[in-house]
Amino acid sequence: MPHMTDERVRAGMTREEDLSLLNEVSMKTAGVSHLEMCIQCGTCGGSCPVAADMDHTPRMLFAMLRAGMREEVLRSNTPWLCVSCYHCVVRCPQEVHIADVMYTLKGMAIHAKLYTDSTAPHFSQTFVGMVETFGRGYELGLATRHYLRHFPLRLPGMMPMGLGMISKGRMAITPKRIKHMDQLTKILDRAKELELTS
């Protein structure tokens, strides 16, 4: 039963023009988003540990989605600040999959090139690049690349920590690669095609 509205949204049966943005976000979200069920109670904005740094609370973002304010939503720093702590998700009285909606908005912002601060998108992309190359995370490569690009001034301050990590054997100098990288590449290539057709 709780999925009925969402099914209806997905079937394109809601009539309000403004809901097209909300529908699009719902469609692109893993699981059933329940976005249309938001009652604007503010549980998410109240729960969020980083709300103070957000330009809009998640609740406001959902109101903006409903109002069809595409550009403002995709330019918002809110999804990029989301730390995926799921406090809002378990507390939301309407079972909105808030954290997953944030992932969706990040993806949409990257595709529309509408994010304002590139630090987070670049970090994600660098990380994903590593994974797509080696099949495993590679902390040293990731950290150096990322810091060189976005926080070059912080690098000297980071050195003791980095050296500490390396000297204690907690950061590998060389990346590890999985055995069947070719298999993973095939899977991801096919997945990317499927993403485009959806």
Binding site: T29, A30, G31, P49, V50, L81, V83, S84, C85, Y86, H87, V89, V90, Y103, T104, K106, G107, I110, T119, F123, S124, Q125, F127, V128, V131, G135, R136, G137, E139, A143, H146, H150, F151, R154, G157, M158, M161, G164, M165, K168, G169, R170, M171, A172, K176, I178, K179, H180, Q183, L184, K186, I187, L188, D189, R190, A191, K192, L194, E195, S198
Partner: protein, 331 residues
Amino acid sequence: MNKYLLYPGCSMDSSAKAYMESLNSIVEPLDLHLEEIEDWNCCGATEYLGINLIPAYSLIARNLALAAKQTDSTRTVVAPCSACYLNLAKADYYMQERPTLGAKVNEALAAGGLEYKAGMLDVRHLIDVLVYDVGLDAIRKAVTHPLSGLKVVPYMGCMLPRPDYQHRWSDHEHPTELDDLLRALGADVIDYPLTTSCCGGHMTQIGPETAFELIHRLVSDADERGAQMMVTVCPMCQMNIDAYQNEMNHFFGTDFHMPILFFTQLMGLAFGKEPGEVGIGVELVSSRNALAHIGVEVPVTQEPAAPRKKDEGLPMPRRWTKHEGKKEAVK
């Protein structure tokens, strides 16, 4: 004998190698058998999901598909990392909740000659199987060097008890599994209201000031409550609080020195392992002073003093737990 498929996750042989070493040190006393998933890959952490949906879930699902080929003696996958645990559990759940997602992911897997039928594995976190399968009784029996006198705050982190698709935890906000386990080891467990608050996750990389604020909240509250150390179940939490504590201090002009160890390290110590066997010493905020409080070689057997009888004031209601039936999970 408890058999599981192990998904270690990338950090277990680098930043969280102390976690892996200490885990290896407790499998024998607890009769745990962990079979590593062959050629597993990174789960994508919190990064891939924000770029593309189908590739992100396909990346995770490859691990599930590989695990599904090794289910001769168990269909339970154990992940020691909270983020890995959540990603694996989430993919398994959403592939069922949204069948179209499940179908597309399987189409992608097919390109690599794999398939995964969502729901066929049980994805669980290490502490879940230790508390609920191995059991606190067995853990208590393995303790040779109780941690009496060590004041710890249990730090569960956020991604473990939430969103909890399969209703595995005693509570989303104040779960007691880690508290119970540490108490079974003999430690003095301090009630820590921030036990499931976020460490900042990837914000240390992309918005350090935001992350420092979150780390500061956790460390200062633990300090305020008299903790000698924090105990965690998650490599990311350990990394953020340990490796970035110095920078955080610098940022706020504070001087905290709050070591954070993995719960398995304390289990190893309580089971009589040497500090070197359980990865003690690779943390950046040293735990030496904290561990000096217990002098790990000397077995301490001290009954905790009964709480002083309080006669004034109004009575308190009983504390809530979601599954009172589950043995030992309840205080």
